[in-house]
Symmetry: C2
Subunit: 438 residues, 2 copies
């Protein structure tokens, strides 16, 4: 009995005629040539005119069945089995690294036939899949949680920060965290604030393509990140990810300055406003950036793994209803980060609501949707109106980092004045101060 | 009587002692050298410990007065006068171009002394400031409105589109629109939808630095944009802006694919997901990209200058309260564009609210905050859940373009099904279709 999930009407008939079902590899003839791919399930809302095939390249194509000349099954669908080899023995004397799993593609497997991605591999499987790790470090694996990163919340940041703080006490020389790519930047920022002054490197890593695909970035990212954690003379929170589209190396990004800037490329992560922290290439680590000022780097390590749900982010756009602000205030927002246009601007009607938001005891911060460059409210009348309304300009802080920082600040002080001061202070390399010494 | 706007306490005393006021050029001695700059006014909320000077570079520095060793006024503040030469005579025979002013830095002047930017130059002044224009085209100037672009609303898009449609009827061979940089991309997208099939080029241009600053990009952008409008074999809506950090040329970006990606650089605008449309360099135009498929380019010109205020944009972040969605629905949002993470994802609790939003008759569309790459809801379970909830994946459409398109679609059809079909159709080069012909 063939699985024909989601197919109906014309396409259902077409597949039945070819004796094909979901997971079968189908060869179809079209006006412009022959296409071979695996039949992918469709969804309730889909039309009934297209069969969707997953090509070898990993991409899906939708083919209009009314224009297909014929089809034959060239391979039947079956689920691939997976049996990893046991983890290799640890070598004493190597640096002690903790590998923490939280979920995501790096810890997932694709069903080859349908292309569906399932969270299936645990951290020890991952370690077993990459036996090279035991040449680099004594790696202990642990799964903290196993969720897609779009479901990571402030409570997960807190859990992760607490576990890493404990790892320091346990004598680990570095921690590598596997995490989904989607919200990796947000989590890296969260750990940067919660673990200020941490004496060991914490490297979050991920994969854009799952570990059983030939083009996967999982292995290289994992080996590179563990290598850096084990051998580089650094501390603090970073993201380790593909340096470029080749398998040449791993780039290390500062945890408060990193952004996922491409939906699918393996080198999706970029450092914004700062150089890369380091590059791992040819088995060697090259440190590039000194990172934040030494007073930030040398902060005393006192983990503060608490986050509030009272921070919100709004991206400004021309038809934005100003009523969004009081609505957020009523539903519990204490600190609002507004991603303005250009130097950090919003329309006059929104400025009025920002003033009200601040007078009601809320905190309003400005970032820019330009991503690059810095907020400056001293140049135009709009900026000055924003300052008068009480808006806090966050210099070159990324919007994503800003909302995470606000969440951390709200949980770590009750004083409005102290919260404002903390938002304007470079705590974890998240902003470049504009003031010259004087 | 010196102007000491915003200064109080220690800084007020410091400036009085030096007989200095806002607008005066002050030379101060610090521990690390001498700094010369113009005293800039401060704002009610500013501290009383820093004097702010605008340096020759255009940047402001805040200097702690308690650490300054002395100060003297080296030039007194006075307002520069401005008297443009009269507009040069038009030369018959050249292409007829309409120059429309809407406001923004390109049409503003800086008070040299304080650095404040005022909207002061009208389009004919601008023409007079750039006499080269009369060598290129017969330029008629007109001011449609004069506002900062962060205050541009859908009603302004409508007004601008109507005026440009009239210009076609009047026989103009091209239209150049001067506009603030902040929301230039949104307006370019709006005109692209409202003026589908327009037979002449419409080029929006702007300046990051005002026209009386030595580093201004106003002149080059204006000459380049008018040259392209007058001589290139193109039609449709574009943005013309500095090609790079030099004064080498002007890049032409497709109106639905352009993004302000830097807060202050002159080459702040980037084409995302498509090549540049053209480059103007050494007085010549080089066409680069064929642009959207010919059926889009060759659409019949029937201006539809209507926009709705019922489109909203939400950027997803880990602590986003799902209640934002029903709140937006209640306050009149009919189409919600959600800027998800990665391939277009949001958390499970937000997906539930998207389902409710859609069942209540709203339309929900997904874009990605990655900016580069395209939304794909077929790869992960989260994406499939979103499709089942009724979310519409907008491929590689920019979020900014998506919310503008939604605003246009809502005003131009009353059918929900037709609206959905329009959102998924490439109307003005705003998306790259994933489907192969078949």
């Amino acid at each position: 009995m063939k699985d024909l999930a989601g197919y109906r009407g014309r396409t259902l008939e077409f597949l039945r005629r070819a004796s094909a079902g979901v997971g079968d590899v189908l060869e179809v003839k079209t006006d412009w040539g022959t296409v071979t791919g695996t039949v992918v399930p469709r969804y309730a809302s889909a039309d009934d005119s297209h069969v969707v095939l997953k090509l070898k390249t990993g991409y899906n194509v939708g083919l209009d069945v009314s224009r297909l000349r014929g089809a034959k099954v060239v391979a039947a669908g079956e689920k691939p089995s997976f049996s990893p080899s046991p983890a290799p023995k640890a070598r004493p004397g190597l640096p002690k690294i903790l590998l923490l799993g939280t979920g995501g593609t790096i810890a997932s497997r694709v069903d080859y036939r349908t292309g569906a991605v399932h969270p299936a591999v645990d951290s020890s499987d991952l370690h077993a899949l990459v036996p090279e790790l035991s040449e680099i470090a004594m790696v202990d694996s642990e799964i903290l949680f196993n969720i897609l990163s779009e479901n990571v919340k402030p409570l997960h940041w807190a859990k992760l920060a607490s576990r890493i703080a404990k790892a320091v006490a346990q004598g680990y020389e570095g921690v590598v965290v596997t995490h989904g790519t989607d919200t990796l930047g947000y989590t890296a920022a969260a750990l940067s604030f919660a673990l200020q002054g941490i004496p060991i490197p914490v490297i979050l890593t991920a994969a854009q393509r799952s570990s059983d695909r030939p083009s996967s970035d999982a292995t290289l990212n994992l080996i590179g990140s563990v290598s850096i954690a084990a051998s580089a003379d650094i501390s603090g929170v970073y993201v380790g990810a593909h340096l470029d589209e080749s398998d040449r190396g791993v780039a290390l990004h500062a945890g408060t300055r990193v952004r996922k800037n491409h939906t699918s490329r393996r080198d999706a992560f970029l450092s914004v406003g700062v150089p890369l922290a380091a590059v791992w290439e040819d088995g060697k680590v090259r440190l590039i950036d000194d990172g934040p000022p030494s007073e930030v780097r040398k902060a005393l390590f006192r983990p503060k793994p608490k986050f509030s749900n009272g921070a919100s982010l709004l991206k400004f756009y021309p038809s934005m209803p100003p009523s969004l602000l009081p609505s957020l205030r009523r539903s519990g927002t204490k600190c609002l980060v507004i991603e303005g246009t250009g130097l950090g601007h919003v329309s006059s009607d929104v400025i009025i609501e920002i003033g009200r938001f601040v007078r009601s005891g809320g905190m309003a911060c400005m970032t820019s949707q330009c991503i690059n460059g810095k907020v400056d409210l001293d140049v135009y009348d709009t900026g000055r109106d924003l300052l008068n309304a009480g808006a806090i300009p966050l210099e070159d802080m990324l919007s994503e980092t800003a909302v995470v920082k606000a969440s951390w600040v709200l949980a770590n002080t009750r004083s409005a004045e102290e919260a404002r001061r903390m938002m304007l202070t470079n705590l974890a390399g998240e902003m470049t101060s504009r003031r010259l010494p004087g």
